[in-house]
Each structure stands twice: as C-alpha cells, then as structure tokens.
C-alpha cells in the first residue's frame, strides 16, 4: 500500500517509532501484540486469583463428603 511505503520518509523517534498506532505497519503490529499480551495476562491473573488455599479446599471437601453421607 502506498501509505505504508511512504511511512519510511517520516522519521519517528522514541516510542512513536514502535507504537505509531494505526499508521505504520510496525505500530499496528506492536499494538496488536500488546493487546493480545494484555488479554493473556488478564486471563492468567483471573485463573491464579481463583485458586483457593489448601486449608479452604480441605474444609470444602469435608463439607461435601458429609453432605454425601447424610
């Protein structure tokens, strides 16, 4: 595309070089990767947060077994 080829003439420095969102190919690619990374981190955070401690797990298991016997 002409737009992407002519981006080379624009000298972006600093963070704008890597995150010039939605105009350069590199900027767009980095933004996409950042969003995917962000989603992966969020999923990981919620997965780890929902893990219960062993003591709580044991108590809940005991309650479940007692309900089953009764």
């Amino acid at each position: 595309m002409v737009g992407e080829e002519s981006d080379a003439q624009f000298q972006f420095t600093g963070i704008k070089k890597y995150f010039n969102i939605s105009y350069t190919l590199m900027g767009r690619m980095n933004y996409v990767l950042a969003i995917y990374g962000g989603i992966a981190l969020m999923v990981l955070y919620f997965k780890l947060r929902s893990k219960k401690t062993p003591a709580v797990k044991a108590t809940q298991m005991g309650l479940y077994i007692s309900d089953f016997i009764c």
Partner: protein
C-alpha cells in the same frame, strides 16, 4: 412425509458399507483427461472453460498465489459438478454434509493464513488493526477482527451447506405439494408445478454460484496472505 423429507440427507450405505467415497469420487468420471495436444471437442470445451475460470480468478495473484491454481480449479470443478449431480432425483449430494464442507474449508483457510503468517508476519499481524482507526476503538476492533478471522472457515462451510440443503428441501416440499394438490385442484397444482420448474432453474444457478463463491473466497483469503 417428514421422514422422507430428510431421508435424502442421510449418508448412504450399501450392505452396511459406506459408499460416500464412491459418491465423492464419481464426478471425476464425467471429467475426461488426455495427454494429447490436440483434443476432441469435449476436452477442448473443458480446457476452454478451465482457462476462462483461471484467467478470471488468478489474475490478481502474484506468483506464489498462482501456485494454488491447480487446487482452486479442482475445488471449483469438484463443488460445481457435485452440486449439479445432486440435482438429479434420488441422488445424494455430499456438499449437503457440514462435515464435508468443513473438511474443505478449514484446511484451505488455515493453509492460506499460515502461509501469510510465515512469509509476511508483520503484515498479517498488522491486518488486525485497520489503518486510521481511532485510539479508543483499537482494543475492541482487534478482538472483533480476530473473531472475524476465525469465523471465516465456519461461514465458508455453513454457507455452502445451507444453500444446497435449503434448495433440496424446497424442491422436495414443492414437489410433494404439487403431487398432493393434483388430486385436489389441478390449476393450483399447475401453478405449483411452474414454481417447481422455476425453482429447479434457480437451483442449477445456485449450484454453480455457490461453487464459484466458495472458490473465490478461498482465493481472496489467499490473496490477503500470499
């Protein structure tokens, strides 16, 4: 009546053995081939048709995309001939089975996407974010573009299945209605018969158009990635 309506979509078996492989291989019998330079009329016509489709479909591709020409031509001829043969009475049409269409759509789409990610990684990833998108919309748009990418093979398969199945069902229904109306009211039965004839002509067109649409979309996915 209800059972008969869906009976034509059941995969046929012969003495307990599936004949689906024979049915899928059958259109090949109607497509002759020859190693001669100057062929007979049928083969010349076939060659002309293939060249017509090739010129129209592969003109936009680069050399790498054109290496898929044989695959795409085989695909359009297979789907077109299978759909047309299925319009004969009491025949089984393999393209009414979603499993078969998914089996065609997913590998072709995945091949094109993997090709794009392998050879043009930056461009393929940047594709998820259209140029000039406003900043607040970016995260949502990337998610939407990702979902739309994964929906492509599903849409490809379901489109073909639904079109062919719906057409066959309609022919069954209207044909049954025509027969039923024959003993009740002959003029109404005649009107229904005319509708049936028009529908059959439409189904012939749909059979060819769906083959073209399937192949064209695969070609477009390839063009985006090759």
């Amino acid at each position: 009546m209800n059972e008969n309506l869906f009976a034509s979509f059941i995969t046929p078996t012969l003495m307990g053995l599936p004949v689906i492989i024979l049915i899928v291989a059958m259109p090949n019998i109607f497509i002759p081939s020859s190693n001669r330079l100057l062929t007979n009329r049928v083969l010349t016509l076939q060659r002309w048709l293939i060249q017509l489709i090739l010129k129209q479909m592969m003109a936009m591709h680069n050399n790498k995309g054109r290496s898929w020409s044989l695959m795409l031509i085989s695909l359009i001829i297979f789907i077109g001939s299978t759909n047309l043969l299925g319009l004969s009475p009491h025949t089984f049409t393999p393209t009414t089975q979603l499993s078969m269409n998914l089996g065609m759509a997913i590998p072709l789409w995945a091949g094109a996407v993997i090709l794009g990610f392998r050879h043009k990684t930056k461009s393929s990833l940047a594709h998820f974010l259209p140029q000039g998108t406003p900043v607040p919309l970016i995260p949502m748009l990337i998610i939407i573009e990702t979902i739309s990418l994964f929906i492509q093979p599903m849409a490809l398969a379901v489109r073909l299945t639904a079109n062919i199945t719906a057409g066959h069902l309609l022919i069954h229904l209207i044909g049954g209605a025509t027969l039923a109306l024959l003993s009740i009211s002959v003029p109404t039965a005649l009107v229904t018969l005319i509708i049936l004839i028009l529908l059959t002509i439409l189904e012939f067109a749909v059979a060819l158009i769906q083959a073209y649409v399937f192949t064209l979309l695969v070609s477009l996915y390839l063009h985006d990635n090759a």
